[in-house]
């Protein structure tokens, strides 16, 4: 067994287990941590697929930004994070059925479908190539993505901005709330 195979299997195991924890953990904070793990595993998969730039980007964006945002959100909305409450809805059996059915369907299709693969060596210096493509062939999507990100930034600011009417009511800052609640729970 060569190290690539081993690495793939290890990463696949890591990703799947972490993903299962993400969807099944009672504690949403644990879910977030496992999500980070899974995303890191996906970055490893990218490395195996000889896309190191993408791997770095994956870590930088998912781990460095999205996950941290999620953890922030978890912390800011943490009243239910102690795992005391029901953490799933009544769709568990049906959801399980559907997802498993879909998995079977997809794996079956995968098994049935011959995909023409190329044995050629992957291009080296993918990062540079990627950059060139972004600024030549895919410049329009690139710009649109830029605008989208800007829009999302502003939109998020506008949405999450504290309602000036509710400002006095929720004077104690949002960061304080979960900590105090947690402390009360501890006491």
């Amino acid at each position: 067994m060569d190290p690539i195979t081993l690495a793939f299997l290890a990463l696949a195991f890591l990703i799947i287990v972490a993903s299962l924890f993400v969807v099944s953990s009672r504690n949403i904070f644990h879910s977030a941590i496992f999500l980070i793990l899974a995303l890191f595993g996906v970055a490893g998969i990218f490395v195996l697929l000889e896309a190191p730039f993408l791997a770095a980007a994956q870590v930088l964006i998912y781990v460095g930004a999205i996950s941290i945002l999620m953890i922030f959100a978890v912390m800011l909305t943490a009243r239910i994070a102690d795992g005391q409450l029901r953490y799933t809805n009544e769709q568990v059996p049906t959801g399980l059925l559907v997802s498993l059915g879909l998995l079977v369907v997809m794996l079956y299709s995968l098994w049935q479908t011959p995909i023409p693969t190329s044995a050629a060596a992957p291009v080296s210096g993918a990062g540079r190539k990627l950059g060139e493509l972004f600024l030549t062939q895919y410049v329009l999507p690139f710009e649109i993505i830029s605008v989208l990100l800007l829009t999302a930034l502003i939109g998020a600011l506008v949405i999450a901005k504290k309602d000036p009417r509710a400002a006095s009511a929720a004077d104690d800052s949002a960061a304080d709330v979960p900590a105090r609640e947690r402390e009360r729970a501890v006491v």
């Binding site: 809805n89 769709q91 049906t94 959801g95 559907v98 997802s99 059915g101 879909l102 369907v105």
Partner: protein
């Protein structure tokens, strides 16, 4: 000058616009603008008249106003010939005099600027009327003149009688205008054009002739009857004395009322070709003349006497024209314009002095107002036909025109007698004898210069204007204002003598009755009470109209009102009740069946929705579940 003749009506138009739009707050400025404009018109009018003096050519300028190809072509423009030149002189002169006179007469009026705007509008309309080269433009300005006269007669609209008089004048002349417009349509149908040139040549070449032409002529004459206050549409003119006296002078002596005469004169070709229509014209004219003169004998209102005198003199002119006396009619038009304007303005001066219209409250005013008295006397002599004043010459022409028609001749002389009588009755009662109202007499005074100067000018014109009609003059009136070819009537010394004698006898009678007192008017009145009452009530014309038209009209209206109330309203109400009943039924049907169906659908939908709504939980996870479940199911089905 002739090329710029179109400017003549433009000056007052501009003045009116300027006054209305800009200067109506400045009395003196408004009056100045108006007078300046009419002065320009006056100069231009006189220049044009002089330059066409004795010139047989007709100057025309026109442009397309309405051009619908073959179907309708109406050019408008101006035309200048001797008749137009004469009218320009008359209108601009009288207008100028009146406007200057008004400076003093209207001095205290609050609507001074508006008054001058109206005067300018009137002058513009009248000048356009006389300059028009076709019936269409003539009709338009004719109506403008009507509008202006309505505004001016009702100028003191606070007075109910003035407002009513304005309406009466407008509506009465509108009856005549109906005939005029019908005549225009007939002419257009018959000739295909409305230009004087086209129509007259069509008439001359018998394109339009016979009954149709007669009817067309009578229709046109109907317009003239309305405008020139001929029987039976004369009733508006005496009432129109409610307007300011200078307006009366302008409208009722010199310009507007002679528009009808001008129309007949202008349409002379038609009346020459339609002799039956011409006879109607002549009869209407003499009847009007006699009737109005006889009414004038007994009136006590100074302006009403003059008004009936005007109607009478207009009848004279119309009669002369009807009898083919083109020169006589138009000549008398001109002379009459001057001396009648003078009479009105003199009367205005008197009224201005004593603040009353009633001659029974005057008397002896000669001592107080010499200029007025003398000019008034000159005008009275002129209208009475005393040699060598203008009236003598024009009246002689008219008498000459009636030769060959004995009835007309007799009646014409009778009118001449009555005219002389009532004019001097008026003069003696006003200016001589003892003051019958000492209070008013004490307050009387001579009018200011702005009023007396026009009187003097008009007096001069009253004397000399007849002299251009001297029969032995090479380029006399008849050779200037001519129809088709120069007309040289003979001077009938005998008839001139007779006419003058008749006039002098009328004066003499008046002298005896009202100056010397040798014949007591009361006795005459007592001996002819019926006649007197009839005359005093103006032959009961207004009453007759009231009985013949107004009352039946009211009655008819009441009848229709009853019909409307009972029959039509009943029908309508019945229909309404039927509708209501039908509606009630419909409502029942609607509520029971239609609503039932609609509600049934609603209930059905609601029931279905109650079942289906469980699908719409608003929870995204349910939706996502359905999506993915559907994906699996679809794959399985496939």
């Amino acid at each position: 000058m002739i090329q710029t003749a179109w400017l003549i009506p433009i000056f007052p138009l501009v003045a009116m616009a300027a006054i209305v739009l800009f200067t109506h707050r400045h009395r003196a400025l408004s009056a100045g603008i108006s007078i300046a404009a009419v002065s320009l018109s006056f100069l231009w009018g006189w220049s044009v008249a002089v330059s066409v003096w004795g010139d047989p050519t007709v100057h025309r300028m026109s442009f397309d106003w309405l051009n619908l190809g073959e179907s309708m072509y109406i050019p408008i423009g101006i035309q200048i010939d001797g008749l137009t030149g004469m009218m320009l002189v008359v209108v601009t002169t009288v207008a100028l005099m009146v406007q200057i006179y008004s400076l003093g007469y209207m001095r205290d009026d609050p609507r001074y600027s508006r008054y001058y705007a109206y005067l300018s509008l009137f002058t513009m309309a009248m000048l356009t009327l006389v300059l028009a080269d076709n019936f269409f433009l003539m009709f338009v300005s004719w109506e403008l003149v009507g509008l202006a006269s309505y505004l001016l007669i009702g100028f003191w609209f606070e007075k109910q009688s003035a407002a009513d008089a304005g309406k009466k004048a407008f509506i009465t002349t509108r009856l005549g205008d109906l005939g005029f417009i019908l005549g225009l349509l007939l002419l257009y149908t018959g000739c295909g054009t409305l230009t004087f040139q086209g129509v007259f040549s069509a008439v001359d070449s018998h394109v339009l002739s016979g009954g149709l032409l007669t009817i067309a002529g009578l229709c046109l004459f109907a317009g003239a009857v309305g405008k020139s206050a001929q029987v039976p549409l004369h009733v508006w003119l005496p009432d129109a004395m409610e307007g300011p006296t200078p307006v009366s002078a302008l409208i009722h002596a010199a310009t507007m009322v002679v528009a009808g005469v001008y129309l007949v004169a202008r349409s002379m070709s038609i009346f020459l070709a339609a002799d039956r229509a011409a006879m109607v014209v002549a009869w209407i004219g003499i009847i009007t003349s006699v009737m109005a003169a006889s009414i004038g004998l007994v009136q006590n209102d100074i302006k009403r006497v003059l008004a009936y005198s005007t109607v009478s003199q207009l009848g004279y002119m119309i009669m002369a024209l009807g009898l083919g006396g083109f020169t006589a009619g138009t000549f008398h038009l001109m002379t009459h314009a001057f001396f009648k304007a003078l009479l009105f303005l003199g009367a205005g001066s008197v009224i201005h002095a004593v603040h009353t219209n009633d001659i029974r409250e005057m008397g002896g005013l000669h001592a107080k107002m010499k200029t007025t008295s003398i000019t008034f006397l000159i005008a009275a002599l002129a209208i009475a036909g005393v040699f060598p004043l203008s009236g003598f010459w024009s009246k002689d022409e008219i008498v000459a025109a009636t030769l060959g028609h004995p009835i007309f001749t007799v009646l014409t002389l009778a009118v001449a007698f009555m005219t002389a009588f009532y004019m001097f009755r008026l003069y003696f009662l006003t200016f001589t004898g003892k003051p019958r109202d000492q209070h008013k007499f004490d307050h009387a005074h001579e009018s200011p210069k702005t009023m007396t100067v026009p009187l003097q000018i008009l007096a001069v014109l009253s004397v000399v204007s007849g002299w251009i009609g001297l029969p032995w003059l090479e380029h006399g009136f008849s050779s200037v204002v001519f129809h088709e070819h120069p007309h040289h009537p003979e001077f009938h010394v005998v008839w001139a003598f007779i006419a003058a004698l008749v006039g002098l006898s009328g004066i003499g009678l008046a002298y005896m009755m009202y100056y010397k007192g040798s014949i007591d008017p009361e006795r005459v009145r007592a001996r002819a009470t019926g006649l007197y009452t009839t005359l005093l009530n103006k032959y009961y014309f207004d009453e007759a109209y009231s009985v013949l038209f107004v009352r039946p009209y009211y009655t008819m209206c009441r009848g229709w009102f009853w019909f409307d109330q009972h029959a039509i309203d009943g029908a309508v109400n019945g229909l309404g009740r039927v509708s209501v009943a039908w509606s009630v039924f419909n409502r029942w049907f609607d509520e029971t069946f239609v609503d039932g169906a609609v509600n049934g659908v609603g209930w059905l939908t609601r029931g279905f929705g109650a079942i289906v709504r469980h699908l719409q939980t608003g929870r995204v996870q349910n939706y996502a579940f359905i999506v993915f479940a559907a994906l699996v199911v679809l794959w399985l089905l496939q």
